[in-house]
Symmetry: D3
Subunit: 334 residues, 6 copies
Amino acid sequence: MSVKTKTIVLLSDLEDGQEGDFFAALSARTSSQTREGKKYWRVTFRDAQREVSFPIWNDSPWSKACESEWQIGECYKMRATYRRTQFGPQLEIRKIRATVEADTADGFDPLLCLAKSRFNPAQLMAQLRSIATEELMHPELKEVVLHLLETHEPALLKLPAARRNHHAFVGGWLEHVVSATRNAIFMADKYLADYPELRPPLSRDLVIAGTILHDIGKVHELQLSLDGADYTAAGELIGHILLGRDMLRDAAREFDLEGEMLLRLEHIIVSHQRLAEWGSPKPPMTPEAMLVHYCDDIDAKFHTFLTALEESAEGEFTSTRNPMQYRIFRGSGL
Amino acid sequence: MSVKTKTIVLLSDLEDGQEGDFFAALSARTSSQTREGKKYWRVTFRDAQREVSFPIWNDSPWSKACESEWQIGECYKMRATYRRTQFGPQLEIRKIRATVEADTADGFDPLLCLAKSRFNPAQLMAQLRSIATEELMHPELKEVVLHLLETHEPALLKLPAARRNHHAFVGGWLEHVVSATRNAIFMADKYLADYPELRPPLSRDLVIAGTILHDIGKVHELQLSLDGADYTAAGELIGHILLGRDMLRDAAREFDLEGEMLLRLEHIIVSHQRLAEWGSPKPPMTPEAMLVHYCDDIDAKFHTFLTALEESAEGEFTSTRNPMQYRIFRGSGL
Amino acid sequence: MSVKTKTIVLLSDLEDGQEGDFFAALSARTSSQTREGKKYWRVTFRDAQREVSFPIWNDSPWSKACESEWQIGECYKMRATYRRTQFGPQLEIRKIRATVEADTADGFDPLLCLAKSRFNPAQLMAQLRSIATEELMHPELKEVVLHLLETHEPALLKLPAARRNHHAFVGGWLEHVVSATRNAIFMADKYLADYPELRPPLSRDLVIAGTILHDIGKVHELQLSLDGADYTAAGELIGHILLGRDMLRDAAREFDLEGEMLLRLEHIIVSHQRLAEWGSPKPPMTPEAMLVHYCDDIDAKFHTFLTALEESAEGEFTSTRNPMQYRIFRGSGL
Amino acid sequence: MSVKTKTIVLLSDLEDGQEGDFFAALSARTSSQTREGKKYWRVTFRDAQREVSFPIWNDSPWSKACESEWQIGECYKMRATYRRTQFGPQLEIRKIRATVEADTADGFDPLLCLAKSRFNPAQLMAQLRSIATEELMHPELKEVVLHLLETHEPALLKLPAARRNHHAFVGGWLEHVVSATRNAIFMADKYLADYPELRPPLSRDLVIAGTILHDIGKVHELQLSLDGADYTAAGELIGHILLGRDMLRDAAREFDLEGEMLLRLEHIIVSHQRLAEWGSPKPPMTPEAMLVHYCDDIDAKFHTFLTALEESAEGEFTSTRNPMQYRIFRGSGL
Amino acid sequence: MSVKTKTIVLLSDLEDGQEGDFFAALSARTSSQTREGKKYWRVTFRDAQREVSFPIWNDSPWSKACESEWQIGECYKMRATYRRTQFGPQLEIRKIRATVEADTADGFDPLLCLAKSRFNPAQLMAQLRSIATEELMHPELKEVVLHLLETHEPALLKLPAARRNHHAFVGGWLEHVVSATRNAIFMADKYLADYPELRPPLSRDLVIAGTILHDIGKVHELQLSLDGADYTAAGELIGHILLGRDMLRDAAREFDLEGEMLLRLEHIIVSHQRLAEWGSPKPPMTPEAMLVHYCDDIDAKFHTFLTALEESAEGEFTSTRNPMQYRIFRGSGL
Amino acid sequence: MSVKTKTIVLLSDLEDGQEGDFFAALSARTSSQTREGKKYWRVTFRDAQREVSFPIWNDSPWSKACESEWQIGECYKMRATYRRTQFGPQLEIRKIRATVEADTADGFDPLLCLAKSRFNPAQLMAQLRSIATEELMHPELKEVVLHLLETHEPALLKLPAARRNHHAFVGGWLEHVVSATRNAIFMADKYLADYPELRPPLSRDLVIAGTILHDIGKVHELQLSLDGADYTAAGELIGHILLGRDMLRDAAREFDLEGEMLLRLEHIIVSHQRLAEWGSPKPPMTPEAMLVHYCDDIDAKFHTFLTALEESAEGEFTSTRNPMQYRIFRGSGL
């Protein structure tokens, strides 16, 4: 590392025409061919906030390295110029090498190359804590929720919401849970107000706390890796629904949350995926559990649609390769 | 009708201990037995807002008429005293006869004996019209929605939302649609604000208009009858999804709503029950259609839970005889 | 209770022609008719080991009480003569009255009227404990299993194995678990010997301990009642699979069973019903979990067949009213 | 285009050994290898009536163009000799180039390269019109059917019956509909004669008209493209069942077809795919709708079998890659 | 039997107002009530060709016998007057008694009281034999088919086609098989002519012989009884598909039908119910098997619709209690 | 074959460092790449008892032959040194050529290259015969079983138990059937002893004979080939369940096994796959059939797990590419 080392910047901060040194992961490489039969590699480099896909032509100096050295999922230190062209954003690579131990000193962290939420995880966490603090009335329930958020904060700040289906990026758990919880507050308020005669009355506390905690077991189900997230052994053999209920039960014991309040909250976690074939051993049998299921599901599905539309940049419809397994309509604009 | 005829009152207006003349339908009659083996009939009379269930003992003067004359679903003119007892509300019958043509002159209308929404249908309709007027921006879309509400107002004021599963009472369509549309406004606002990068942007107009119109075809699918609602021939053979889309297409032609806006709105109606086995020939393929499905479904299911809990007055759990086909938990209070 | 009170005997101990005073429950009563059109009641009285079904004719002195006083599920103190006739065993009733508080002094216990296992529960429990003591090698695992059996012994001695499908009687849990565990020992020994190359080697300990504990959660899922067993709130909302895993985890914490041994044992409980639609959130993913599923299932199904054949006494086939939902073949003997 | 240009012929008209200039599309190209390890490309060129598959060896002058220039789905102008060899029909290519705008002057039309029905579309259309004219008795019904055939004749002459499953070629819609309608005439005649007591009597008119129109909505669902057919946006979002019913309703309005006759005909279109999971929102609820479903289905399935057997030229069984998803038996001849 | 005994006639031959002595079975008896609360029994008596349903009023001399003596499924000797009234056909009973052994001398046969085909079984059998004789070309195949029809003629003349779903009456097997075989001749002729290029060519012989024999195993699966048909032990445990294939194989051995012709014919029987859940262990894998499935299914379903419409005499729709499990539309006439 | 020809040895007998001449099949070849981008082929050669996978580097003298000459599924005569290395067992090839006709003289038999059971087929057969001889009491039943084993001995000695799912190797049928029959003896003994009151008593003979014969039809369903086993035409069109029952019926006729004993044994074969979607036209309707299903299934599934774990040598979990279609847990050792 000589004195002349350029400052490290972020790929996602580069402006049109700007050259910079940055860290980026190779996230895709496919062999392709022009209509005239000219072969090339199409590669994608990404950091947390930007993906750039561009061709490496056969006559490029990087052609051979691209074919036989670069590894998908590996992080590289690159010097390149970022250009917006008529064919989309591109990189003109000047230098490129796999990252090494020593790059840590320059601020390298593999997390920098993983896709991450558009939202700031710390702010999302603050927002979630603030919801728990202000909206939950039942004292033991509030303590349990806050305790779980605090205890697992380091993991939750990075956790994706799922391995693939939705919010599958760093900070995805928080982005999804905050959004679902905002749905929950609206639904709890509305149905509590509209149906005051329901006996027992709808528990606003349970709807909100249940939504915050419904996926807490993902902390033990998933483990972040360079190519996304993997299931832990316990995640595969037991699953986040049971693992999350364990976490709740341990915290409840500590803070004396018990009786029917605890039972109903456990049931919310157990039933939040609704059907046996969707992973829940019991269907939602309380109004609160039913609402939590929908507040979660609507947010997950919205993100699934969003991602499918983003990933296929052209055409009236996306392909069927998305978690819905059917084509999503983009249309030609309204 | 002599001068001495008592004024007709509503069963649901009677106070404890008050005697009155009123119209009510016999909605249930079951043969029962005390723990000591004493047999009796348990009958339920109802008007639009109140149901009273009480025993007719074997030694009652009405015992024989109850057994061999009274018909479930028939409306009666009754003179009786309403009493709240330790066994619940009861009626002491003084006179009872089936209603006759001439009772119309005294204000009798079979609708008075059907269960109806707790909300005022005219107010619900005003609320729905006001949402359409204020929230919809697209001029042709707004015209189409308002035109459909206006044209079918007389039917919509009485229509139930379904034959059995939820909101199955007079005014149920409006109660359900207003509530689902309020869900829709919240969801459209929230996801439009949170995901400004979605292309094309989420159409708030479509989410709201789609929710208002999703069940409009029920106007032609169901026909109100004394014992609830029946399917029309077109309702059974074609179904409200297709019939509702017809209504939309006819109105759209009149007000020049066309192109992709119309196509997306049709798709919302077509797909709002989500799965083929739930009745939709196509699944929701746009973010708007997906949101409308959930805004509708969450409201329908909440009401299903509410009804199941109301109908079984005792015990920790309801029975499995409800549209969910499993037991709903009431518990013993939080 | 005068001095002349006869000694109380057991219905199931009465010999042909013997009269006795005993306690028995009315377990069935149906209205029937001879081919000549003569009406009568067919009633069934039972104690733990014998059921007697016989007619109460219209001209019997008990006819009126049978129709309007006797309650199914109620226990009676009876004086009657037991006779084997060409129409099967019958009772000639001399006296009958509902049991009262004071009968306890004469040894009355409602449990005496519930169907129970042909095997002695205490001996079954001793057998199970002895299996755990002698067969399990892993010290913490053995302690955990013995601790759970001991802690819940009073409940386990009475517990049925299920509410309806199989072994649905007092002591059924033990009868089923002992039998399934004997299957487990055979299978573990056989497949361990036949496939020594399996890596890791088949854990005989896990197969045996897993079978003993697979249904331990029924202790908290079911509660014995006069008309069989009911689900507890936790049983319905959470289910015996999760409740049983809780019991295991608590015991494991106490006795330091941990790591992969604990994880595999938890997985056995979680997956023992194999498919999501059969109630297991995860399918068996280890050879041990797969074996436990079968050792359990084969015993449950054998008992289901046995019960179906016993309950329908005549004809080549049973009816379809059994948990298999199809007819079982009895044939006319081999 | 010099004077010396050879006359353009059809690939499908070439005799063994004849050389000609023709237009053909490259419909398949796979990399392959002889048992001795010699690599080659296997290419398929086709026009509307003939497919020829043959090798391009590595040492062929076309080897390089084949690898890097030829595009699947593209039309070429070729000069080649057609030869039947022991390895099947082959082409010896003399010249080949992608078609250009100017080829239109020589009669080039991409349709010439698409697979098409063995039957003449115009004759099929005449046959269908003649069936409608002669067999239909109900005057408005006849007008509606003839009007729809006439209005959409240009599209119907080319339309495939489906994108993939059966009759997926130019003229396939007509071939399938004429054949299904001949089934319909037979079935209507037979069951009308055999069951004269059916009330209302079987409507021969409805069975025939329903079969002619059952797939009319494909006109708006599919759009012909060089590589087969694609779904239109309305086809994907709404589907041919609903689109076809729209066409019927518009025509019915014009020709005063109404009441139960129209309702039953709409129902036939709506229900012709029978099950929800096969695409029909309502199952066939009239004898006529049931017959139309079968007349359609039997023809579609026969063609599916035929195509599967044709496409896999060798072996006792086809592969499972056909719409039945199982192997079809060819055998070795009877 | 005195000289004065009236001649025995058939219930189905009685004219309006005619009195006669006849045998009839009581096929239904339900307790009912007029709108005024007057109770009565509604009974149905039937012989092979006519069903008469009428009330037995409480003050009728037969009221007591009706309630306590008459047995559903029993045959009676009756003297009664047959009258067509505005409430439908009725019987004025003069005498009635259960049939006795001695009635056989007067021509009584329980078969006379069972529903039977409108067609003459002997003529149907002659028609089927004639089809086999004239249409089948393959000599061994023809011999096998004729041999099986001849051997089992006595059983086939009475056999129903199924226990409940369709043609569930005496002679139903023949009615169904003749009708399905006529479908088969049409389909075989049509598809053989239309697709001469199919390899191997469609075997008209196999389609026809396969349809004749597809249900031959019912001979051993069903056994006629007074209340319809019951499954034999082999019918329940093995099923008519396998039993019918046995019969074919035994006959084939005798007449030297072998090789692929036999294999394909066996496969037709094995696969004729198409899906595993509909009872076929293999799906139709030859064009012939596929055609036979449809020729059978269309006839069975047509009869199912016909029966559902006949059994529910009123209303726009039938109930859902028919083998389709949904409502069939009758409408109000075209 | 010169005098100097080395003795032919077995690949599976070679010790570390030993060179030998042997026959082996190429069972896999995949193109791969080191982390540094160096390309190579990974090939697998196998004989009946050993598989060796190793790289052929680009600079190896065999590189070109590997790429363009070697055929998967072909047998080769090789001279090579077998070495255990840190990367697993490897072969250093000195000579290699495809086997030729003349190699038969040196003892070559393609069977030598197919995977086979670890057990000696002749010993397995002796064991099975001995079980039949000693355990079966019913004389005709014993004769039938022994006759079938004897008649088909040559085929059974080689037959795999299935094409892919379990025991898919030479001798697999015998290995599986012997193991399942040992399960059967245990289960029959145990449930016969435990439930002496079952009527008719459990037939130990039927459980054992049924397990021995349950898959006997595989003899005609499968035919051994160099790349495993293929379905025969009868296997695909009729299936081993029906073919096996044919074999039983033919043998039963010869040895006078008949009546209910034969019917129950046929039913065991028919129902042994339990569910229609698993291939059985009838579910197990006798206790014996139910036991046979489980004795078979447990052995098949155990082997499936074993194979999945063996095939994926590394990692906590296998992949999902196994007949269970989910991941199997290996863990890191207990």
